[in-house]
Amino acid sequence: MKPDILIVEDEPSILSSLEFILRHAGWTTKSVTSGEAALLAVNTMAPRAVILDVMLPRQSGFEVLKKLRQDRRTRDLPILILTAKGQQQDKRTAEGLGATDFVTKPYANAEVVEAVRHLLGEVPPQNGPASDTGGEPDR
């Protein structure tokens, strides 16, 4: 089954939180924990979008992104970059390599949901579960 979103994240706790949020928003997800696995999964599973962490062991998210963009089949695949460094330099690198969007850790859950919705080109549902994720009670 073709998943909506492929999550590439090596931190188990973050991965499990992302899976929970996105599934709860109504999408199907697949998870991998390394760049090599991500490249394989993109081609075999053909996800509609990818959430890609930068700090992966051995092969960084940026290298994966670059390879995906070089591949004709995945040139236009929507990719959201997740980074814990959050510097301007990382954002520019991501844009330069052709990332579709960019979210900095630690993120608000709604932020990720909104970004993914945007990646998939979906309009927010009137009564969907995601409609009331925009507000963050502690802000």
Partner: protein
Amino acid sequence: MISGSLVIATAVVYVILLFALAYWSDLMARRGQDKLLRSPLVFTLAISVYCTSWTFYGAVGSAARNGLEFLAIYLGPTLVFTGWWFGLRKLVRIGHNQRITSVADLISSRFGKSGRLAVLVTLMAVVGITPYIALQLKAIATSLRVILGSGFDGDELAQAGPLPQSLDDIGLAFAIAAAMALFSILFGTRNVNANEQHHGVVAAIAFEAIVKLIALIAVGLFVVFSIGGGFEATYARAGDAGIVLNATDAFGPRWLTITILSAAAIICLPRQFQITVVENADERHLRTASWAFPLYLLGISIFTLPIAIIGQSVLPAGSDPDMFVLTLPLAYDQQGLALFAFIGGFSSATSMIIIASIALSIMISNHIVVPIALRSTKVPDHESGSGMTRLVLTSRRISIAVVLLLGFIYFWLTAGSGALAPIGLISFAGVAQFLPAIIAALYWRDATARGALAGLLVGFAIWGWSSFLPSFATSSEQIAALLQAGPWGIGFLRPQALLGLDGLDPLVHSVFWSLLGNTIALIGVSLLSENNAMGRLQAHLFVDVFKQSTGGHARYLDSSATLNDLLYMTQRVLGAEPAKALFAKLAPHNKELEATPPTPEFISKLEKELAGSIGAASAHVVLGQVISGESITFEEVLQMADETQKILEYSQRLEHTTEELQSTTSKLRAANQQLRELDQQKDEFLSQVSHEVRTPMTAIRSFAEILLKHDDLESGQRQRFLNTIHDESMRLTSLLDEILDLSALERGETLWHNEPVEIGAALRRAIDVCTPLTNQHNLEVRPKNLTEDVWVVANTDRICQVFINLISNAAKYNDAAQPFVEIDTRTEGEELLVDFSDNGPGIARGDREIIFDKFSRGKRDPESSHSGSGLGLAISLEILIKMGGSLKLLSTGGRGARFQVRLPLAASRVRAPLERA
């Protein structure tokens, strides 16, 4: 009665004889047949020009008036020639080396070739010698008057005694002065000799020395044996004659003063300097003179006292004792002997006048006339060499005339002041003012031109005030009044009682103050001033004359420069060490630079080397001037070289400063680079810390938001999320703790106490602490060969921290079915080795080098929720290094990782209980 024509004829013949002798001697010298002339005996006889008519006539007068005082006049020179011959030798050596022409030249040469000093010394010498010349004029006039104008009548002799001041005597003296001037001019200025040596004159003077000695001895023998009846009988009459021979006060301050003055005079008198130093042909002659001259003095003084005693006894009272040598033979009708005695006295006077006037004329022409002429626009030297020679000869002739004129004027103004000896002593005191400067010239390197100038001026001024001026007192009432009351009635400035020092003998008083003031001024001003380059060079050449030269003076006749001179010059240009190195290269075999004249090859090589430093033109000028030895330009050359040297030194200093600056700059650059690297490391570290902190925070925030939003979560899931939040919080806390710990370790701020630790106990404690973790991961800990009683010096808590870190790493990352870690201990030399071997995945080859870096984790088990901070190994390594140990990852060859801890063994295995177990 001796006829006037006979006396005049005898004198004229005698003078012609002297001329002939001088002419013949010059001829022989030119032919090179001057062995006799260059003999030490001639030299010694010439030195006895010291014995003038003062000695010939005046000593008897002095003995008649003051007893044994006259002996002091001979004691001083005797002491100098016997006791200070080495000093004379130094003087002569310098005279040859420097081609000294006069005492003025000596002093000015030594003090940087100062023109001012030369002029001052010349003027002082002229003024100082003037009374002495007058003394000779007076002696000749008086003796002439005695021998011409007297029969054998005692009354007439009495009248002829102290010469009345009359026009006739003045006229006579003037005639004598004029004759003497002519005589000296004919003798001394026939040519200008390169080294101012006058062989003919010296021969004539030596001949005159023999004549005066024989004449005096002849008179003495006649007096003692024909009149006195032998020495004993003669001395027995001393009491009757009023001459006290054994007076205890004879050897008082005055006696000492005269001894000192005469000792000074034998060196400082221009004519003595002329003979002893300038006319000296060979310094070995001094050896002969050192005994022969005192012997001559003994011979010429041995009959002084007897003649005085007999003269006082047999001649009528009131007879002039200064003329006893003449009047005694005349009284006993020995006309031939009297004539001989007159010729002897004439010899004494003429020899003195000739040499003194020549010496003074050389000074005047060389130091006053020639420098002025050279400065004037009408310089004759480029027309022809003879123009200069004519100028010198003319100026010398005029100088001689002026010197004698001055002597005559002094005689005229002071005529009637009486005895011969006091006049001579005034001169002695005057020229003695040169002594401090000469002694300093020979022995005191730091004496300066200013010091010499000050000393001479002060001494000369005091002498002029306290000695020269008072000698006019008999002819001037104003001066007599001055002596009584002092200038403007100021008592302590009275010429013969300066600063209220009253009651001393005038001579002692004058000599004391003038030499004291002279010496103090010389020393004081010298200490306050510095020699210029020329002065330093000359000081070296004078003071160290024996160190420079081993040979005689011959080498200076054709070549004025030695290798040493060139070295000195080169040092001025290049600096001391490079010049020495250069000379060692150019002339490696010449050890005695002072004695070796440079070869043409050497000079051309040196010129090339110098040209490299100061340019070809300058090098040529510098060398040309040094080698030709032109004195005036040499000074300029030295100044030029000094400036060059200063510029070189300055540029070397500049170079040095530049080097220092460059070194500082590069140090700064390195430090800057280091700072930049540290700054970059800090940035990377912060970036890593930021990442490490954000990761657990992301999970915490995300799960907190989920829990806040979804209150309908099933309790199991809720519990799992809460656990994750808790675990991530703990991870965050321990991360921060470790960051702080590592930071403190790296800054060296962590102080701990090392103590002997028993390693088995420490390991067991670490294993105990890890038990919950190892149980959780099913890790089997296998202690193997755990040592007993092996001690290391360590901090117990810290070493346990390292062990715990290694065990928990093994637990966290071991994915084997039957995970285990083996702990093996052993000693190797002075070290303890602890190996931790597990059967986990091992460290990927690419990670082995970075495994101890901060935040590097290598490949982790992705399912493990207990991933570390990445600081554990970095901290462990830091701890072990601080204990003098190490931590390494060993190759295993296959599966698993193997870490090795090394620690130095404790020197004394003190058994101590493990604390805080």
